[in-house]
């Protein structure tokens, strides 16, 4: 109960700290994989990094959105809402594509952010992002679908894989699925502050698991 009271009294501060924390995690993931990506030029890693790049941008936009909603005209708020949905969906679609790219393309290097395949992801995310203006729950709905597919693929990878980390990957995806499900429920039934705290804890664990996976790979270097 003390945590809930503290959270209620310091909501704004906690929101800023949380946003900065998640953005930092995304930045670290992208930066920590920079060296090995430049060496390997591996497509799956390219899309994986794109995912967390867009997630980071999404959280920055969300942070700005929450600040300006009160004091700025509605149009700016609407544009930022679309951008937030766009970046979040783009991040998730890139994460999904990082697991499935081998079925759609040969291993050829090209620009990370601008390519025909990326354009498809951007257009789809933009289209869905604009629809979210009409029905807010659309973002949560599509995130649930994307993460459900991610879960199926990562379960399949877990069976094939020799590394223990794939179990954590599955766990991370599952937590993210719960996060987006709770967000969807929150649209319908306003969850209380404790519900919010649980939701955001689940969300942060997802990023932490992915960062741990990157750092774990670094650990075995001589």
């Amino acid at each position: 109960m003390r945590i809930v009271t503290f959270a209620l009294e310091n909501k704004e501060l906690l929101r800023v700290i949380y946003t900065l924390f998640i953005v930092s995690l995304c930045a670290i993931i992208v930066l920590k994989t920079d060296r090995i990506f430049k060496l390997s030029d591996y497509q799956g890693l390219r899309y994986f990094r794109n995912a967390f790049f867009f997630y980071g941008i999404g959280w920055i936009i969300l942070g700005i959105l929450m600040d300006i909603q009160v004091s700025f005209p509605v149009q700016y708020s609407l544009i930022l809402q679309v951008l937030y949905s766009f970046t979040t969906l783009t991040g998730s679609l890139f994460l999904l594509y990082s697991l499935t790219w081998k079925y759609f393309e040969k291993e050829k290097s090209h620009n990370s952010l601008f390519s025909p395949k990326s354009a498809v992801i951007y257009l789809l995310s933009l289209f869905l992002g604009i629809i979210t203006l009409k029905r807010g729950v659309i973002l949560e709905f599509f995130q649930i679908i994307i993460f459900f597919i991610l879960l199926m693929i990562s379960l399949h990878n877990q069976i094939k894989s020799k590394t223990k980390f794939t179990n954590y990957y599955v766990g991370g995806v599952l937590l993210s699925l719960f996060f987006w499900s709770l967000k969807a429920i929150n649209r319908v039934i306003n969850l209380d502050t404790l519900g919010d705290i649980i939701m955001y804890l689940l969300g942060s664990i997802f990023y932490i698991i992915f960062l741990v996976g990157i750092l774990n790979s670094n650990k075995n270097k001589k």
Partner: protein, 86 residues
């Protein structure tokens, strides 16, 4: 029947062969790499563009510092790919 090698594995194998020799003639490397001439040419072109491999005055191949870095980092690259199913 041998499992089809992926791009990173082939690059690693070519660079490993190069790392054991100061220099190597193209035909020798072609035979050691187990690639078709066309594929071999494609990989050599990529490795040269990425400065992991260079060609000396005698038209022999030699590994660069960047190529050696790739070999050192290969385990890490492989681990990330396996961890995240990329």
């Amino acid at each position: 029947m041998n499992k089809k090698r992926d791009r990173l594995t082939i690059i690693k194998e070519i660079l490993t062969i190069l790392s054991f020799k100061k220099t190597i003639k193209p035909t020798r490397l072609l035979h050691s790499s187990n690639l078709s001439p066309q594929m071999f040419k494609s990989y050599i072109s990529e490795l040269t563009d990425k400065k992991m491999l260079e060609i000396n005055d005698k038209k022999e191949f030699l590994i660069t510092l960047k190529g050696r870095s790739f070999l050192e980092e290969y385990k890490e690259i492989e681990k990330i790919i396996q961890n995240f199913g990329l």
